[in-house]
């Protein structure tokens, strides 16, 4: 007997939301509520600052400094180069690391745990912190940027690779093993082909992420468009700032479309 007759029911045994789901929802709400004051999320303050934000946006509506375009192009190219170089280097490092960090392809449980921990360590600090570390080690310029970004990206890419590898159809792996294949042959003829669509998706997601990350690490003097961005902001050079922001938006959008097209063809 139901106390209330509702028109709609959830597809559970008694027609109500599962208790575990309600508890999860309440926990999230509680956490949000208790942390809002800690991180100073204050609706009144946000509302009051709207005027300033609009003012900033208004400043951006100005005549662009067209003569700045060649410099911008060079710097943008540098950022893109950093992003591509880092993604490619990470890809090369991530494939073996991902294989070692996946339960079903790791040659030994100890290797699996060591690789997992190594990957966590690489992801533990954000790119910008590693960039600061490497800038102090090798000096300003794109090199510390490349090192920092490659380091963190490998941590991420290898972890996602490992997870893609773990969900590969185990029956395909088993049938290749049944022909007398060794570990390397299982990897090349069963695991990698089956995980391929996921690997490609990850690769494109990481490129996308790295273009933005390469911008951010430029802020600490690690080369590229980021440095230009922060200088224009500090000098209130809005005619440049506008161009820089627009170009970043354009590049990210174009890359997104390109990867979409490529993925459709491959998968």
């Amino acid at each position: 007997m139901r106390a209330l007759t509702w028109k709609w029911h959830w597809p559970s045994r008694n027609g109500s939301l599962p208790l575990s789901f309600i508890i999860l929802l309440l926990t999230i709400l509680l956490m949000l509520g208790s942390t809002a004051s800690l991180v100073e999320v204050d609706l009144v303050r946000i509302f009051k600052s709207t005027g300033k934000l609009l003012g900033f946006a208004q400043q951006l509506i100005t005549i662009p400094e067209w003569s700045y375009l060649p410099t911008l192009g060079t710097k943008m190219l540098e950022t893109l180069e950093i992003a591509f170089l880092c993604t490619t280097l990470s890809l090369i490092l991530s494939l073996p690391l991902g294989l070692l960090a996946a339960r079903n392809s790791s040659p030994h449980l100890i290797v699996y745990h060591i690789s997992r921990n190594l990957l966590s360590l690489m992801r533990a600090l954000p790119e910008i912190v590693w960039a600061l570390v490497f800038v102090s080690a090798v000096g300003l310029g794109p090199l510390p940027g490349v090192m920092a970004l490659t380091f963190v990206t490998t941590g991420f890419m290898a972890k996602i690779f490992a997870e893609s590898i773990e969900v590969v159809n185990s029956k395909a792996i088993e049938s290749v093993a049944a022909t007398g294949s060794n570990w390397l042959q299982l990897v090349t003829f069963a695991i990698l082909p089956e995980a391929f669509p996921d690997l490609i998706s990850t690769f494109f997601y990481i490129i996308d992420h790295n273009v933005r990350a390469a911008t951010i690490i430029g802020l600490v003097g690690a080369g590229g468009i980021g440095y230009e961005l922060v200088m224009s902001l500090r000098l209130f050079n809005y005619s440049r700032l506008m161009l820089i922001m627009l170009s970043i938006y354009l590049i990210v959008t174009i890359l997104d479309r390109l990867s979409d097209q490529f993925r459709k063809r491959v998968i």
Partner: protein
């Protein structure tokens, strides 16, 4: 001549389930043997033990007079073709590559890394493709094929291993009756013409009667019948023991299977 000797082999899984009680069997060279039994009887376990996909809890397995151990497992696997209920091809690779996987044991690490195969492997693969009548599908992606075609590719993959025995684990359970019969005919042909021993597990009595030289009936992990199809046909009560449940009733599939067989 005996090809496979199983002595006192049993299998108990980690969760305590006893899939196979100590079993002793000899499989003769060149015979088409069917392991018959209801679902969960231990047919798959028995087949999987024979190429090391499962390790026995006790007993020993001899294949062509060599004991199956962890050390020579890969070597013996290379001589044993295995086909599965759900075909288990690498779906994203093309048919040719799937068949060439049957040659991997003979390839060096660098050849495997770069997907390189010598001409003689391709010749074998083309021969196997013709054998299963799929020559025109050589360069199609495996996932684009129908179930029956995928099982033929799996058979071709087993053939290029140049095996002494093919283990077929419920090879037609995922196929419609007409395709199922075609696949069984193909396996029989390979057995009789190419001299490859075939050991297939089935739950369909009709197919077993139609194709088997010898039927091994298995129920709840124990061999309850071992003889020719004719013997089983005459001794219908033996057929019932294969399908009898623990409480004495008959498995639902029994009546249907027997009706189909008749």
């Amino acid at each position: 001549m005996s090809l496979i000797q199983i002595s006192q082999v049993s299998k108990q899984y980690e969760n305590g389930f006893r899939a196979l009680h100590p079993t002793t069997l000899t499989i003769n060279s060149g015979e088409f043997t069917v392991i018959l039994g209801p679902s969960g009887a231990g047919k798959s376990t028995l087949l999987r033990l024979l190429n090391g996909l499962e390790t026995p809890s006790s007993g020993q397995i001899l294949i062509a007079n060599r004991q199956l151990t962890l050390e020579n497992q890969r070597r013996l696997r290379a001589e044993i073709g295995m086909i599965f209920q759900e075909f288990n091809l690498v779906s994203r690779l093309n048919v040719m590559t799937n068949i060439l996987i049957g040659r991997l044991y003979h390839r060096a690490w660098w050849e495997s890394l770069f997907y390189l195969f010598p001409k003689k492997d391709y010749d074998l693969a083309h021969w196997a493709l013709a054998r299963v009548d799929l020559t025109e599908k050589a360069w199609n992606r495996a996932s684009k094929l129908s179930g029956g075609q995928q099982q033929r590719v799996a058979i071709a993959r087993a053939l290029v291993q140049q095996p002494s025995v093919i283990l077929a684990d419920e090879p037609v359970a995922s196929l419609d009756p007409i395709t199922a019969e075609e696949i069984m005919k193909l396996l029989l042909e390979i057995c009789k013409n190419d001299g490859v021993t075939v050991l297939a597990s089935l739950h369909q009595v009709g197919l077993a009667f139609q194709f088997a030289d010898r039927i091994i009936g298995i129920n709840r992990g124990q061999v309850v019948f071992d003889g020719t199809a004719e013997q089983l046909w005459i001794e219908q009560d033996k057929l019932q023991t294969i399908y009898r449940r623990e409480d004495g009733s008959l498995d639902e599939s029994f009546n249907m299977e027997v009706a189909l067989a008749q």
